[in-house]
């Protein structure tokens, strides 16, 4: 069967000065990635990835980027990503998280990664309100795993802290 097979690279943007929202467009990410591939892999890399490359998803709040590339040339993209140092005037770097064959597999990874990050955040919490907010978010996403959460009574006394 003849069809184009792709690889989806899931990255996280780590900004120098971390702010809640940094307005970046998909176009800008695409151009910056193209420039990086052209620098690292030359005309050959730029030409070969140009056909199938696309920034499929960009979330400026969670700073998640999903880039699609043809399966045969995903290593060219993957190796050029660490050389990106800024977009426009904002200094940042791409933290590559996962390479998947489909968008769905990347979404599944993102859910698991988010849960792991919540556990990390819980340890970094400084105030009691922050702890409660993170705990509530953790319970919410574990309950969402196929359970019927209308029957769950949300109890303010449920405290998992020591």
């Amino acid at each position: 069967m003849v069809r184009f097979k792709n690889r989806y690279l899931l990255c996280e943007l780590v900004l120098e000065k971390d702010c809640l929202v940094y307005p970046i467009e998909q176009k800008e990410v695409y151009y910056v990635v193209r420039q990086a591939i052209e620098r690292c892999h030359g005309d050959y890399g730029a030409g070969v990835t140009q056909g199938g490359m696309n920034v499929k998803y960009l979330n400026v709040y969670t700073k998640t980027v999903l880039i699609r590339v043809r399966r045969e040339y995903y290593k060219l993209l993957w190796s050029s990503i660490p050389f990106i140092k800024s977009i426009g005037r904002q200094k940042l770097f791409f933290h590559s998280l996962h390479i998947g064959g489909t968008i769905r597999s990347c979404q599944k990874f993102l859910v698991k990664y988010g849960q792991q990050q919540l556990a990390v955040l819980l340890q970094k919490c400084k105030t009691q309100e922050e702890r409660k907010a993170v705990q509530r978010a953790t319970i919410h996403c574990t309950w969402l795993k196929g359970r019927n959460f209308e029957n769950v009574k949300h109890n303010e006394d449920d405290d998992f802290s020591d």
């Binding site: 591939i37 052209e38 620098r39 892999h41 030359g42 005309d43 050959y44 890399g45």
Partner: protein, 119 residues
Amino acid sequence: MKRIVSKGPADYFYLKVSLEFTDDDFEVDVLLFKAIIVKALLTMYGETGTAMTVDVLKYNEDRKEAILRVHHSGFSKLWSALTLFGYYSQKQCAFRVHQVSSCLMALAFNSRQHMVPVH
């Protein structure tokens, strides 16, 4: 039952190339020659292209001819980069690849360029 043993690809490939400019007055010394080869790899294959080691074993400045050595993994990249290199500092140029071999001894003689004295 036959058993086939393969020695794998050769370690190095040797190329006999010459650099031709449209005006023959332009002098190229061996360092500039190496820099032009690196520039060809840079435009074609980027920074990863320049990472491959290309050695200039012999250089003839009058004819701008050289014997290059390259690892087998970078061989096709080098040859394609040299083929598609057209301009150096606003001058048109071309790399002519005369001979290619995996053993250096084969470059000692070229039946195409050999001149037989006619009496």
